[in-house]
């Protein structure tokens, strides 16, 4: 079935009919996979595309802010990922070991990801803006054996490596003539001898592939363990939801340090043989619009925060560039507000299609399909093959009445569903109730079956489409010499939906001041990441606690959102 045929079918057929007749084996057939055979994402995204006659097609056009650029065909992907794989194997890395990718959005990140998967090792991408503490926690938890990084991030790895005795290899992709230290090794992907043939490790459907870290309310971040079979969902959703077609030029804004950047910034487009463009640069409206016009981008997958930043820069800058190539726009990370959807129609003549999913789902699960009427502000409807519901908060039974808020839940069993949390079985089990996987978000369903997002169901902060756990922030706050106690909660924000706000009590001898506020903000930014940095700090005399002494973040969060605090009977009077 051609992709355009899928879209026509989605438009012409009833949604119910399409859903009723859906089977994931559609993707298995199209990918040439038969159950029980070997399946390897690295091979599927490179060698397989070459075998289909697209070896000379451009797979990646990469550019940085200064205008430096590189281009790679699918055959380059095949050979260079072989080259990475061979290098990793020669270091003695075994299948199943975790190999971290800690880089900016450089070609080595994208191609290295495929290379690691080809060896049977587990790719562990981490956001390069993470501070040393965030990096340490995730590498310790995963017991990571090797890390691929750039010279500019090496100092963070050096700071923590003594605490990581099992990190055997620190692979620097741009070391040049720099002096390297113990355990460090230089690897220049483009200058290394090209490996034409590599025996790809015959991973099976349930073999571990990618380990992405995500935050929860309690404890440190959890490693969501995915498997090679996830490509089945990522391939089909890229085709049906992002509407990737053979001649598309696709741009995904997401960084592969997060799940969108791997599921839809690597696996989805390349398993479809789609050309993608990458801009390794910070935000700049003019530069982004130039980039779209220059490359004649047809499909753009962005995020509400980016869209709202573009809105802030106005429509005049949009008009200065030719965006007539844009055919389909989609968004992910947090709910796309109606104003942003309407603005995109005014600015580009097209509406952004909101998509809902998360690290644990591995693929888009609730979405606005191409061809489906959009209700601005709605998340859309479940992807065929995904059984979704909103559950009663007490009984965990599906709510059948329209408009009633409940917990977003999914019936387990789709191909890219997380298989577990690394070293955290109890945390994983806690995500299931009554045979449903709980996403941790609240929504309602209207009479047409459209889902409407209402907010998180826990204390996790969704800032700019990234989940930040309060525990990690509070732990880092306590490392500051002035902080006695703290609570990190979400605060509403017009651009990022939510930002971090910290409530802090000070140790004896310290007084609240602007200087101290700024010092604490920068402390968190450097230790954890800019995302985790509190955008506001309120110094308080005490924090609300239960009688057993546990800080009740709910009270503080409700105040920020102007919501009723509810039952306060367990809160201790101070």
């Amino acid at each position: 079935m051609s992709n355009s045929a899928v879209c026509e079918e989605l438009t012409a057929k009833s949604y119910a009919e399409l859903t009723a007749n859906f089977d994931w084996s559609t993707a298995e057939r199209e990918l040439g996979y038969q159950p029980g055979q070997a399946i390897n994402i690295g091979w599927m995204c490179s060698d397989r595309i070459c075998h289909l006659g697209m070896a000379d097609k451009v797979a990646l056009y990469w550019e940085d802010f200064q205008g430096n650029h590189q281009q790679f065909t699918f055959d380059d992907l095949r050979v260079l990922s072989n080259t990475v794989a061979q290098f990793v194997c020669d270091l003695g890395i075994q299948p199943g070991e975790r190999v971290c990718l800690f880089m900016d959005r450089v070609p080595e990140l994208y191609i290295g990801f495929l290379g690691i998967l080809k060896t049977g090792a587990v790719a562990q991408p981490l956001f390069s803006a993470f501070g040393d503490e965030s990096l340490l926690v995730r590498l310790q938890n995963a017991n990571t054996s090797a890390i691929l990084t750039q010279k500019k991030h090496l100092h963070k790895v050096r700071k923590i490596r003594e605490q990581l005795p099992n990190l055997r290899h620190i692979i620097v992709v741009d070391a040049g003539d720099s002096a390297l230290q113990a355990r460090e090794v230089s690897f220049d992907m483009k200058r290394a001898p090209r490996v034409e043939a590599f025996a790809v490790y015959p991973t099976l459907a349930e073999s571990p592939s990618v380990l992405h870290y995500t935050s929860g309310t309690t404890g440190q971040p959890k490693g969501a363990q995915h498997v090679h079979y996830s490509i089945i969902s990522q391939y089909l959703t890229s085709k049906w939801v992002l509407d990737l077609q053979p001649d598309d030029i696709y741009w995904c804004n997401a960084d592969p340090g997060w799940v969108t950047g791997t599921s839809y910034g690597i696996i989805g487009p390349w398993s479809n043989g789609t050309t993608q463009v990458v801009l390794d640069s910070g935000f700049n409206a003019e530069r982004w619009y130039e980039f779209i016009a220059k490359h004649r981008v047809t499909v753009w997958y962005s995020a509400p925060t980016a869209i709202r930043l573009l809105m802030k820069e106005g429509t005049e800058v949009v008009r200065r560039h030719d965006h007539s190539s844009l055919r389909h726009l989609a968004s992910v990370g947090e709910p796309l507000n109606a104003e942003a959807v309407i603005w995109s129609q005014e600015a580009f003549g097209k509406m952004f299609h909101d998509t809902f999913w998360q690290t644990e789902t591995g693929c888009i699960v609730i979405t606005n399909f191409p061809g489906m009427p959009i209700k601005p502000g709605s998340m859309g409807r479940p992807f065929p093959g995904i059984t979704a519901a909103v559950l009663n908060i007490k009984t965990y039974e599906p709510i059948t009445e329209p408009g009633i808020a409940g917990l977003i839940a999914l019936r387990p069993g789709w191909p890219s569903q997380v298989r577990g949390y690394w070293n955290n079985e109890a945390g994983f089990k806690a995500k299931f109730k009554n045979g449903w996987y709980l996403c941790g978000d609240r929504a309602s369903i209207d009479s047409d079956g459209y889902y409407w997002f209402m907010g998180r169901d826990d204390d996790v902060i969704n800032t700019g489409g990234h989940l930040v756990g309060p525990f990690e922030i509070e732990s880092a706050l306590l490392e500051h010499p002035a902080v006695y106690e703290s609570a990190a909660v979400a605060k509403p924000d017009p651009v990022n939906m939510e930002v971090v706000k910290a409530f802090v009590t000070l140790k004896r001898g310290y007084e609240p001041s602007d200087d101290l506020e700024l010092e604490i903000m920068n402390h968190i930014r450097k230790r954890l990441s800019p995302l985790a940095m509190p955008q506001a700090i309120e110094f308080v005399d005490s924090l609300p606690k239960t009688r057993s002494g546990k800080i009740v973040r709910r009270v503080l969060r409700c105040k920020e959102f102007n919501e009723p605090v509810g039952d306060l009977s367990t809160i201790m009077d101070d």
């Binding site: 802010f65 409206a285 700024l518 940095m533």
Partner: protein, 88 residues
Amino acid sequence: MDEITKLVRDYVIREYLEEGDEREITETTPLISGGIVDSFSMVSLKRFLEKKCNIQISDACATPDAFDTVQKIVGLVHKFQKAQPVAV
């Protein structure tokens, strides 16, 4: 280099350049678009300017473009200093 330009430039070098990053920061080096300061970290830079220059920068004016170079930031500071004449 005037006092505010030096203040901003020194702060950017001290707070946002990674250890060992020897990039030169000039008045026109792209900060946000060049990936040196991200849009989240912009808030701490804004807070620093407000504190040191005794101004209040409105959220509407605190755009990534307005914070993209030292030169633009200094222009923004001057604009708000004129709007709210106070001693630095």
